[in-house]
């Protein structure tokens, strides 16, 4: 029972260790894919990239990531779906996926999520025990079950991505780049399940967000918000890639929340400035998103977009309606502060910003709030 899962996970870990020990001495085998499953391979690529001697073999290795052999592809998907089984807690799903599929060590996961190593170790041990004791199967779900389970996998990937993306520029230098790993893993799922438009939607969404990376922080490491970003610094090639992915997803004629979010991000990416953004279209997309996956955060974003053509008073009304649901969320208060500023309500704006600061954890976002409070 346990066999399959633990074996697969061990293969990831062991093959990596073995490869890193043997390859420098004996050279890379003809079929490196047989050696390394999943992103253990990716980590190997990172390490090999630093070494010029392996450049040729590297190309081989990268190709084999893109075109895995069928049996191997099945194995990887099985591993991903097992790690993301809804019978495991969301924290455990993320930790286990990073460990078993991406090849993170326990200390790496701990530093990525700013939790104690012992906590991560315990989470992983408990999750593995539950897989065995509860009889969680090592398989890719089929038929009616697949859509729901794939949603679960995608939400783990998105969580991983956001954790990395939002904390970028934070003062944790040893933090591994979770956002890049999440992008890679989503690309892998996309290669393994090419007929699933939501996977492509999520991939496009991640690429569009990452394409703005260079403009998100200024030289002093301070965060720069979307309206103030230098759009010339955006990675326009990557934006074009993402939009092509989104078109491919759209052609499959089965829309979903990730495709809609990516479409919103694409409209931002294509606009020449904040003012020239197609806000009307964005509000319509948020309306679609509310119908598919309603949440107070979606409504908050919709209100911001609405404010761009209906005015701050209207937006503030919509935002205030979310007070009960979002009272503990710093972006609710900082959004109110922005709108109150626009309405000339300086004192109320200050109060809201103060509240946002009390609730905000991320150092770069805190610094931005502090700057605005001083100005």
């Amino acid at each position: 029972m346990l066999g399959d899962f633990e074996l697969a996970e061990e293969v990831v870990q062991d093959s990596l260790v073995a490869a890193l020990q043997k390859w420098p001495e004996q050279g890379i085998p003809d079929k490196p894919g047989a050696w390394l499953m999943t992103a253990a391979r990716r980590r190997a690529i990172d390490i090999l990239r630093r070494d010029k001697r392996y450049r040729e073999k590297l190309a081989l290795l990268e190709r084999s990531v893109l075109a895995p052999e069928p049996a191997e592809a099945d194995d990887r998907l099985r591993l991903i779906f097992t790690c993301c089984h809804p019978a495991l807690s969301p924290e455990a799903q993320v930790a286990l996926t990073l460990r078993a599929v991406v090849g993170f060590t326990t200390p790496e996961i701990a530093s990525a999520f700013l939790v104690a190593e012992a906590t991560v170790a315990q989470r992983i041990v408990r999750a593995k025990r539950k897989i065995v004791e509860a009889g969680i199967p090592y398989r890719v779900p089929e038929g009616d079950e697949l859509a729901g389970r794939l949603d679960g996998v995608l939400s783990v990937l998105y969580l991983m991505f956001n954790e990395g993306y939002l904390s970028r520029g934070a003062e944790v230098a040893m933090r591994r780049d979770l956002a890049d790993d999440a992008l890679w893993l989503t690309g892998l799922v996309g290669t393994l399940m090419p007929d699933q438009p939501e996977v492509l939607g999520l991939l496009a969404l991640m690429k569009l967000n990452l394409a703005r990376s260079a403009a998100r922080f200024d030289a002093a490491g301070e965060i720069v918000l979307l309206p103030d970003q230098d759009r010339g610094l955006w990675d326009h090639a990557s934006i074009a890639d993402a939009i092509a992915l989104l078109d491919r997803a759209g052609a499959m004629k089965s829309t979903g929340p990730y495709q809609v979010q990516a479409a919103i991000a694409a409209l931002h990416s294509e606009a020449r400035s904040w003012q020239e953004t197609d806000w009307h279209q964005i509000v319509l997309l948020y309306d679609a998103l509310v119908r598919m996956a309603d949440s107070p955060v979606v409504r908050l974003n919709r209100a911001v977009a609405l404010g761009q053509f209906a005015g701050p008073q209207m937006a503030l009304g919509e935002v205030n309606d979310l007070a009960i649901a979002l009272g503990g969320y710093h972006l609710f208060h900082s959004t109110r502060a922005e709108l109150l500023d626009q309405l000339g309500e300086r004192a109320l704006a200050r109060e809201a910003r103060q509240r946002a600061l009390e609730l905000c954890q991320n150092p770069a976002e805190r610094s931005l709030l502090e700057r605005k409070l001083r100005s």
């Binding site: 089984h85 019978a87 004791e133 509860a134 009889g135 969680i136 199967p137 779900p141 079950e145």
Partner: protein, 119 residues
């Protein structure tokens, strides 16, 4: 693998169930009975029972060799267990798939049964 599916619901659910008019209650039971019959015939359900309400429950606490009997369930909870089924299926996914088709509504907890056959 064997699992127990525990069928639970809120106290209010239980009261509403007891107050159902006769014909509706009969119809609801028919769905439940059909579900049990169908899965029993297919070999997936190997046992189970419906339990009477918590007002009929009596608790025995054994401490230092002495047994104390008290009225009521052992734990005051918002949810109560109304019945259970013992199922024998391949893995958790099959047990969950079965639990999802439970016609009685409410909550179903799925717990694996300890297997002592290899002890």
């Amino acid at each position: 693998m064997k699992y127990v599916l525990m069928f639970a619901g809120s106290v209010e659910d239980q009261e509403a169930w007891e107050k159902l008019p006769k014909d509706q209650l009969a119809a609801a039971y028919e769905h439940v009975n059909k579900w049990f019959d169908e899965h029993s015939k297919a070999g997936r359900i190997v046992g189970g029972a419906e339990l009477k309400g918590p007002s009929s429950s009596t608790t025995v606490r054994i401490k230092n060799g002495k047994a104390i009997v008290t009225d009521g369930p052992f734990i005051e909870a918002k949810e109560i267990i109304g019945g259970f089924a013992i199922v024998d299926v391949k893995d958790l996914d099959e047990a969950l798939a079965l639990a999802k088709t439970w016609p009685g509504g409410g909550i179903v907890e799925v717990r694996p049964v300890v297997d002592h056959s290899n002890d």
